[in-house]
């Protein structure tokens, strides 16, 4: 994130960090939605979600490399890579739900949680076997231009990430709030047993929730690798934890909360990274960026465990 050049006036740095933060936050928000949707509907924190994002990024990368080598034009490569990654992640999400979580539907809450961590490790290891331990550089498929606003640079990649994330989230809100499926999802999240009386097959709704969340994860994975220009088998871990933090910050289970929490966390992180050097008199540098997310998590858990937009967090019976 922003290499601070001491001569640049303060407004530029601030604005620059806001742009960086919004970009990062858009990605956090997309990933956080995956956590919060699954939590909302079945009270499970799917810690494997970060790895789904990673698989999405690496699948897109592998597809893109293959297509580029075959001479397919770059814009088409991007779309196809995104499509393949999304489909792979959706199938992966469905498979995780079916194999790892459904058998534990009536088990004590700790069992699926530990299973989630297990799934996460398995996915990471499989990805390591498939793609190796190396960092992969991501080919530039998006326009490389940038604009200057009040001295701060905003790249076209950043703009595209924000626009795509915003429209995807808008679409998701429409789906959840306006469609028959969305209604069934909300009803199931309140009570699977009562929803079943209306003819809702909770298993189907839960699976679709995983599929949608994983699709958003794939998109986020492509974005994050496009933003940083690299992808590797371990990238899902920290990203997943941060997105989980964003979901908790917004109020886990609350879709709007995940979006707000994601954007907020991105901005906090970017501003923190940008100013930590000044604040600590140079003792700590921007490599402490990751600290902020977890500092936020701790503060939220202490002072407002239900998050900014969440209702009271109650253990489900």
């Amino acid at each position: 994130m922003g290499d601070c050049q001491p001569i640049i006036p303060a407004v530029d740095i601030f604005l620059q960090q806001i742009f960086n933060g919004l970009t990062l936050g858009s990605i956090y928000a997309l990933v956080a939605l995956g956590y919060t949707m699954v939590y909302g509907i079945m009270g499970l924190i799917n810690f494997a979600h970060g790895e789904v994002v990673m698989i999405g990024a690496l699948t897109a990368l592998a597809t893109a490399k293959a297509l580029l080598a075959a001479g397919v034009p770059p814009p088409l490569v991007l779309l196809l890579a995104l499509l393949v990654a999304t489909l792979v992640c959706m199938a992966l999400g469905a498979a995780i739900e079916r194999v790892a979580y459904r058998p534990l539907r009536n088990a004590p809450r700790l069992a699926p949680l530990i299973t989630a961590i297990g799934v996460s490790i398995v996915l990471q290891q499989v990805a390591m076997l498939v793609w190796g331990r190396n960092y992969h550089s991501v080919p530039q498929l998006l326009p490389a231009g940038s604009y200057e606003i009040l001295g701060a640079q905003i790249t076209e990649v950043q703009l595209i990430i924000m626009a795509v994330a915003a429209s995807t989230m808008l679409g998701l809100m429409q789906l959840v709030n306006r469609t028959r499926l969305g209604r069934a999802m909300r009803a199931t999240s309140e009570s699977p047993a009562i929803a079943a009386l209306m003819g809702v097959d909770a298993n189907r709704i839960i699976m679709l929730t995983f599929v949608i969340g994983s699709g958003l994860g794939a998109l986020a994975g492509v974005m994050v690798s496009a933003n940083y220009g690299i992808a590797h088998y371990h990238m899902g871990f920290l990203l997943g934890l941060k997105a989980f933090t964003a979901a908790v910050l917004g109020g886990i289970g609350n879709l709007a909360g995940a979006m707000v929490g994601g954007l907020l966390l991105g901005i906090i992180e970017a501003l923190g990274a940008g100013y930590i050097g000044d604040l600590t008199g140079g003792v700590l540098g921007s490599n402490y960026q990751d600290v902020f997310a977890f500092f936020v998590l701790i503060v939220v858990l202490i002072f407002r465990p239900s998050g900014l937009m969440g209702e009271k967090v109650a253990e489900r019976a």
């Binding site: 069934a184 909300r186 047993a193 929803a195 009386l197 209306m198 003819g199 097959d201 909770a202």
Partner: protein, 237 residues
């Protein structure tokens, strides 16, 4: 006598380690309004939950021409069997209109659904007034009305009602039972579980009395209301 719409044979329900229903048999004919009365903990709610497949059970449950005891809960409403659960079970964070829409979730006949919303609104005008309000903000009586309206949106052939009077003020209880009577008069078969035995025996034609997981009496409502045991134990006389 025609074949019963609902025919239950040796139904057993275990609930939390205890046998809540100990092999009961009963039947409900098409178009009848039958009640299941008894004290708290007699097994009435467990029976209804088993019929709606919310609880596993043993024994036979015949509905229409088929056995439904191996079906999942979500397969029943499409067959015309609806339950208004104990405690109403409205979706608190969905609007009244959305709750009604959930009642018609399994239906694809959109024009007919729209007509049924009109019908439910005519039957329960409060639901129309409060269509956009979240169901959780309704009063207990309104929530009960919503739960019934939502069940009607599924066009049930057999309606199971679990303690519709519970927790309601007397005036509201009267209103709710008036609605139930109207629904019954339109040909919907009703199986009613009630602790308020007096009320239940007033509106139903037949009744079963449950005690400790067994059916101890089965008779016409008039005979049950006159039975000294029922009068003593459940009508407070």
């Amino acid at each position: 006598m025609a074949r019963a719409l609902l025919d239950v044979l040796n139904l057993e329900v275990r609930y939390g380690g205890i046998m809540a229903v100990k092999g009961i048999s009963f039947a409900v004919e098409e178009g009848e309004m039958v009640c299941l009365i008894g004290a708290n903990g007699a097994g009435k709610t467990s029976t209804l939950k088993a019929l709606a497949r919310m609880l596993p059970s043993r024994g036979e449950i015949r509905y229409g021409a088929e056995r439904i005891d191996a079906l999942p809960a979500h397969a029943l409403i499409g067959r015309g069997l609806a339950l208004v659960p104990e405690g109403r079970g409205v979706f608190a964070r969905l609007s009244v209109a959305e709750n009604l829409a959930m009642g018609a979730y399994h239906r694809r006949d959109h024009d007919e659904v729209a007509a049924d919303i009109e019908y439910v609104h005519a039957l329960l005008p409060r639901l129309k007034e409060r269509a956009r309000q979240l169901a959780g903000t309704l009063s207990g009586g309104e929530q009960q009305m919503l739960a019934i309206g939502r069940a009607l949106m599924g066009r049930p052939r057999l309606l199971l009602l679990d303690e519709p009077s519970m927790g309601l003020a007397p005036l509201m209880v009267e209103k709710v039972f008036e609605v139930i009577r109207t629904v019954a008069a339109q040909g919907v078969t009703i199986l009613l579980v009630e602790q308020n035995a007096r009320l239940a025996l007033e509106v139903c034609s037949r009744g079963y009395v449950m005690e400790s997981g067994r059916v101890i009496l089965a008779d016409s409502a008039a005979n049950l209301a006159a039975d000294p045991r029922v009068r003593h134990a459940y009508l407070g006389e």
